[in-house]
Symmetry: C2
Subunit: 212 residues, 2 copies
């Protein structure tokens, strides 16, 4: 199964959370079984594609009945890493960073934000949504003590690369980059870009097209 997990192509991996959200919904409604055909109808994804994606999981569906809903939900959460705890620090505790610190939804998906860092004297030394905010100068020391493997980057663009370098020096193995800046990192460090402002640009552009 470890072997399978390593081999899953990214597009398949990106579809699994869609299945999970649908299966969670069915679970809440008390539905017991679900087939790839049903998931296909609901999510507009080809049924054979769904069966193939789910083949990466350690679960077997029954002919004509499908998958056991609670088991499929559990296996998806497990496979996606949502059932393990991933400790993270966030750098930039202002606008977006502070917002992420208060998003308890992240905890549900296995992300445990343990501290924030900033340079703003108005923020350093305070707590935000129960989490301490330290000065960025303490990054290396604190990251180590807090066993944080993930650094969330929510700083202004002009500090993105420099703070990413500090996070990597402090020992994080992954950076979740919320800035629109393309940061560089040595091999072995995972960079995950979530540039929500770039999504805005794509949305605005499409809106311009449909209104013509």
């Amino acid at each position: 199964m470890m072997e399978n997990r390593d081999m899953i192509p990214e597009p398949a991996l990106r579809r699994l959370p869609w299945y999970l959200s649908y299966v969670t919904l069915l679970h809440e409604r008390g539905v017991e079984y679900v087939s790839s055909t049903q998931i296909s109808r609901e999510l507009k994804v080809d049924a054979s594609q769904i069966a193939k994606d789910l083949s990466f999981l350690d679960i077997k569906g029954k002919t004509r009945i499908g998958y056991e809903v609670p088991l499929l939900e559990h296996k998806l959460e497990e496979f996606l890493g949502f059932r393990r705890e991933h400790r993270a620090v966030i750098v930039g505790a202002g606008s977006l960073g502070g917002a992420l610190m208060q998003d308890s939804g992240l905890t549900r998906y296995g992300l445990d934000i343990v501290a924030g860092f900033d340079v703003d004297p108005a923020l350093v030394g305070t707590t935000k949504h129960g989490l301490p905010v330290f000065h960025v100068d303490e990054l290396a020391e604190r990251c180590h003590k807090l066993h944080a493997g993930i650094g969330i980057l929510a700083v202004p663009v002009e500090h993105a690369q420099e703070v990413a370098d500090s996070l990597i020096a402090a020992g994080v193995r992954a950076i979740w980059n919320f800035t629109p800046y393309r940061i560089c990192a040595p091999e072995g460090v995972v960079i995950s870009n979530t540039s929500i402002y770039a999504h805005l640009a794509v949305m605005y552009n499409r809106m311009g097209q449909t209104s013509d």
Copy 2:
């Protein structure tokens, strides 16, 4: 130029915000000119690709000198829609939704969130970061009065489709979907998915691979 804007392929459109963030940085540093070659070196994107992407903008670079930095910044912001005001409402003013309501960064990128909606009696009737929170039942009436063209979806998965339907009925032309649910919409309505939890799954998976 309108014609060009309509024709830009999505991958090119998604790269423009990277260029913008770099150019903004140069502007702040007082740099006057930048060439595709320089942008290429910094962002690790092929220089001829950059020149091609920028050809969609109404701007010409000078041979050997490159683009005027403040002008390129302005043209990029304009092209990306960041200099126009796009009015939006947010449904789900709890954890992630409430967080987005306080992210002033969005305003900088042309998104003007004008109200929040929820069903929670503890939230309805209050203000959050200066924005009123109304009951979801008032969506149609309020959206119309507020001239909101964009609906931001930050509700629990089980209400995603139903709330999306209400937003569309209320006249929004685009939905920015933060839920991991694949919502369906009639043609002409723009759906932009930002499933930050799916990004988490991809990051966890890659971290598992590098640690082996």
